[in-house]
């Protein structure tokens, strides 16, 4: 038989006792989540002498979880000291299984000082015992106006037969479920098992009408840019970056029915060989200037509210095109949403280890048909 992985949690003091910096760490993150030149990491190395190997190894939560789980179950290092996962079932499981290092908040002074209030009281990891946010973002709709000659405003547009075979949806069961639920008018966070079934039906209808070309993870951007699909579920910051990097003209909208708000969080696997270096980097990224740098490039919502002021100041100091860009970032509701904007955003459907059995297969059956 295969042993169970009940979570027996070591106390933070026990975990950190005797651990020291090794001068290096391995950081696994999502693509398009840091300037390709990695200036923040260079700054970190300069300041601490710690070398960072950065790997864009994470393209969706379930796959990455599936990949690291067996190693964590063996008590083996997974090859990364610092990883970034979204709030959701996989993160819940990691915590429940006891695979994450308990964070020593004495080592996170920047976080204590700079993190926004809502980021210190998350539902999925109250008290930030295991995670601190990296960035937040919105799942909405992106479309390519080169091919779509009207404005796209609603999730209902993803069901418009006019776009047969030109719609991209996400493969991640939770993302997919959210949009299915919004489509049938249910708030994901309040959904019941019956709602899930109805949402799955709606999604299957969309699929069987031939609207969906494929179910994507991070790879929806390339076909969206080249016209293989015309519109897709998308992550807010990605679209800005793609436009900036590739000169594309994609548009991102928060649909009328609402989008979803998520947070990607940094965490340290309990088997990590370099946890001290990892937690140092965690804290370094909460330096307000660093957070502003990061935001300037990735255009996701930073967990450090002060980043906005810093960027606004930089915009004033900058000239010409750069100023314009910075102003755009500072003014974007997608990077710095107002309270009203937040109202339009929904939380994730809440999946627990108990009801996962009835959730995942339902939506997996939609994407893996």
């Amino acid at each position: 038989g295969v042993q169970g992985q009940g979570g027996n949690q070591p106390a933070a003091e026990d975990f950190w006792a005797g651990k020291e910096s090794n001068g290096r760490l391995d950081f696994a993150n999502w693509p398009l989540y840091m300037d390709p030149g990695k200036p923040e990491l260079a700054a970190f190395t300069e300041e601490t002498g710690i070398r960072v190997d950065y790997d864009e190894a994470i393209q969706d939560n379930p796959t990455f979880f599936g990949k690291i789980q067996p190693m964590l179950a063996q008590g083996e290092p997974i090859g990364y000291d610092l990883i970034v996962l979204t709030n959701g079932i996989e993160l819940t499981k990691l915590i429940e299984l006891g695979y994450l290092a308990p964070l020593d908040h004495d080592r996170l002074p920047n976080f204590a000082e700079n993190a926004g209030r809502i980021y210190k009281h998350t539902a999925y990891d109250s008290g930030n015992r295991h995670t601190v946010p990296y960035a937040s973002g919105i799942t909405g709709i992106a479309y390519n106006p080169d091919y779509v000659d009207r404005e796209i405003t609603a999730i209902a547009d993803l069901w418009d037969p006019a776009f047969e075979g030109k719609v991209g949806m996400m493969a991640d069961p939770q993302e997919l479920a959210n949009f299915g639920l919004l489509r049938i008018g249910v708030a994901p966070a309040d959904s019941t098992e019956e709602d899930w079934a109805a949402a799955a039906d709606a999604l299957e209808e969309q699929r069987d009408l031939g609207l969906v070309r494929r179910y994507y993870s991070q790879d929806y951007i390339q076909p969206l840019s080249s016209g293989d699909i015309w519109m897709s579920m998308a992550w807010s910051g990605d679209i800005f970056q793609q436009n900036a990097e590739q000169g594309t003209n994609l548009r991102f909208v928060v649909p009328e029915e609402g989008g979803t708000l998520w947070s990607d969080n940094m965490m340290i696997p309990y088997t990590a060989p370099n946890p001290v270096d990892a937690i140092m980097l965690m804290d370094f990224l909460y330096d307000a200037e660093v957070a502003a740098d990061l935001t300037e490039y990735i255009t996701y919502i930073p967990p450090v509210p002060r980043a906005r002021d810093i960027l606004a100041r930089r915009a004033e100091e900058a000239e010409g095109e750069e100023r314009e860009l910075l102003e755009q970032v500072v003014g974007s509701p997608l990077v710095f949403p107002s309270e009203a904007d937040y109202d339009k955003l929904h939380n994730y459907v809440s999946v627990t280890t108990e009801n996962e059995e009835s959730f995942s297969p339902l939506f997996l059956a939609v994407s893996q048909s």
Partner: protein, 301 residues
């Protein structure tokens, strides 16, 4: 005649002495061990895992749980059948294209036979994943093929081939075509050309000589080719993932997801066992009729 060929004599002639009798066992022992531990035991272990129950958190225990199989079949019969269908179609496509190519090289390749064969094999020097990904780019809706045709007005603007069943079958056939060409070539090349002349001599025209003599004599090669294409194409998921769209999922992908993403090991194992049973049952029936040695001989080229 006194001259027995080396091949006949070989297995019979053995060095004398007790040490000589032990020699074959010493020679095969390392290989046996390796295959026993890393092939036979894993197969046993996947079968045993398919009969377990449990969850990632609670652990999995052997309970002789046959419900995994009913679930596997109930949930994924469609993907299993589709995989067999795609594999079958790709195999047919491989025969349709590979046979004439093997035939032409073997019979008309002349001095360049080995060069042609090499050309058929050369693509293998490029990673299978990379070649498949390249097709994804080449076949993009506005890529170099379709885009050009659209610009020329040959194709309507919204035409596409990517993310469809034909694209998957096409990719499978592409990737496994050389496995069909090789064994057929090996048989045809070894074929005594005089047998074909004899058929012509006995009033058979080109078509008749082919249908009555060349084709039946080359069937062992076709069989070997079928084994070497049908099994891997049916179980592949790389092509379906890169080139497929909705309703194109193959069972390999399901197995991969259940193992590597969902960590639903018993269910995954049950699907695996079902796939293995379906494929191997067919193959063994088939190999029995032909003799595994002969098929492997052909595979060895």
């Amino acid at each position: 005649m006194a001259a027995t060929t080396a091949a006949e004599a070989a297995p019979g002639r053995r060095p004398a002495g007790r040490r000589g009798r032990l020699a074959p066992y010493l020679l095969v022992l390392p290989g046996w061990l390796w295959l026993a531990v890393f092939f036979v035991a894993p197969i046993a272990s996947v079968v045993s895992m398919s009969l377990m129950t449990g969850s990632l958190t609670a652990g999995f225990t052997f309970t002789f749980e046959t419900a995994n199989y009913t679930r596997a079949l109930g949930l994924y019969w469609e993907q299993i059948l589709r995989s067999l269908a795609y594999g079958g179609l790709a195999t047919l496509l491989c025969i349709a294209l590979g046979y004439p190519v093997a035939y032409w090289i073997a019979f008309h390749g002349g001095a360049y036979k080995s060069t042609y064969l090499l050309l058929v094999l050369l693509p293998f020097f490029v990673s299978f994943v990379l070649r498949t990904v390249s097709w994804g780019f080449i076949l993009a809706d506005n890529g170099i093929v379709l885009g050009t045709l659209k610009d020329l007005g040959v194709l309507p603007g919204d035409a596409g081939v990517l993310n469809s069943a034909p694209a998957v079958v096409f990719g499978l056939a592409y990737n496994f075509l050389p496995f069909m060409v090789l064994p057929i070539y090996a048989v045809l090349e070894r074929m005594d050309h005089r047998v074909v002349e004899a058929a012509h001599d006995l009033y058979a025209g080109r078509l008749q000589a082919f249908a009555r003599v060349v084709l039946p004599m080359s069937l062992p090669g076709v069989f070997a080719g079928v084994i070497m294409t049908f099994i891997p194409t049916s179980a592949d998921y790389v092509n379906a993932t890169i080139l497929g769209g909705t309703h194109n999922t193959m069972v390999g992908k399901v197995i991969e997801t259940q193992y590597l993403v969902n960590n639903a090991y018993p269910l995954a194992a049950a699907i695996t066992v079902v796939l293995m049973a379906v494929l191997l049952a067919g193959i063994f029936a088939y190999a029995r009729a032909l003799g595994t040695e002969q098929v492997m001989e052909v595979q060895a080229g």
